[in-house]
């Protein structure tokens, strides 16, 4: 049965080489990475849905109005937005083939990302110090899960960014490195898109509840 499927009527073995037109190396990386980001988007959608359901369950504990410091969140947001535009500048430098400028903009992006993480960790530490731990209420559990998952993504993005700085230093702006920089660009801007959802639905809407 399987023999007939794999051979032509003449009995010669049939290979589907016609479909195998040449693929340049990494030609499908951008689409593949985009599909990964979409799956990541679903993770965040579920965390947003969880927060949406549990966000009002304070268990007689602190509410967003007691905990959130909007000027600090605004500062945090500006750090991430600035890191987005500086990564854009790194990509523009990459298109011009200036590896020195790419390194400099990547370093600036990394510093903004680090500032974002530091402010977020300071905020978390402050909340936990006040007794607003993830165990305190369903609201806080879902808050720490959602915002913490985003922070974890930024952390891994930073590790990736440092790795790429080393790669560009060692190998220059070869095709593989350009592809990697493009992927990190998508990842970094995607995290900024998620943050728009976080500051709108968690922080700003939280203050309105």
């Amino acid at each position: 049965m399987s023999d007939t499927a794999l051979t032509t009527p003449q009995g010669a073995p049939l290979f589907h080489l016609a479909d195998e037109h040449e693929h340049e190396e990494g030609g499908s990386t951008a689409l593949g990475f985009w599909i990964y980001l979409m799956s990541d988007c679903l993770i965040f959608a579920i965390l947003f849905a969880t927060f949406g359901v549990l966000g009002g369950s304070y268990a007689a504990g602190p509410s967003p109005k007691d905990l959130f410091d909007l000027p600090l969140v605004a500062l945090n947001t500006s750090m991430l937005l600035l890191s987005s535009i500086t990564y854009g500048f790194a990509m523009l430098a990459m298109q011009r083939g200036r590896s020195g400028q790419v390194q400099a903009w990547l370093a600036v992006t990394g510093l903004f990302g680090l500032a974002f993480l530091s402010i977020e960790l300071y905020e978390f530490a402050h909340m936990i110090h006040e007794g607003a731990t993830p165990q305190r209420s369903a609201f806080l559990s879902s808050f720490f899960t959602l915002v913490g998952t985003h922070g974890l993504h930024v952390t891994f993005g930073l590790i990736w960014l440092v790795t790429l700085m080393v790669q560009v230093k060692k190998r220059g702006l070869i095709a593989a490195n350009q592809r990697r920089l493009s992927c990190l660009s998508m990842f970094w801007h995607f995290l900024d898109v998620i943050w728009i959802g976080v500051f709108t639905f968690v922080y700003l809407m939280g203050m309105l509840r």
Binding site: H23, A30, I35, A49, M91, S182, F199, T200
Partner: protein, 132 residues
């Protein structure tokens, strides 16, 4: 063995091939698109923060407005920073995005809708036997 057979023509053609593919596959940003995206993002971020911090509008109106601004800013990021368009990757990026958006809308609205009704119906003092 088929990989070695494929590798040879792929290597010889790779230069011209990659060049012709470059524009269709990886739409690249320009300084103008990044600058427009950044300025719009700053405006679309500053106004919601100002609205909530100053309390200039009634609560309901503020909520609707900031959601509108968030959607607008997500679109700005998608177009200016992620360079989304109908043509990139032969339209498959957009298809993946639309499919994901449908799933996100179902997951979000479904969860909120079901759990809201569950919450109100499980409220203490709500007698189910009184229901028609």
């Amino acid at each position: 063995m088929s990989s070695t057979a494929d590798a040879a023509p792929a290597a010889t053609h790779s230069h011209g091939h990659s060049h012709s593919h470059e524009h269709a596959a990886h739409p690249q940003g320009t300084l103008k698109s990044y600058a427009i995206g950044f300025v719009l993002s700053v405006i679309l971020t500053a106004i919601p923060f100002w609205l909530v911090m100053s309390g200039a509008l009634p609560m309901q109106a503020t909520a609707i407005t900031i959601i509108g601004f968030a959607v607008a800013q997500i679109l700005v990021h998608m177009i200016c920073f992620l360079h989304m368009n109908m043509k990139s990757e032969g339209g498959w990026s957009m298809m993946a995005l639309l499919f994901t958006l449908i799933l996100v809308v179902i997951a979000l609205s479904g969860s909120l809708w079901v759990m809201y009704h569950l919450n109100t119906n499980m409220m203490p003092g709500h007698d189910m036997s009184q229901m028609p």
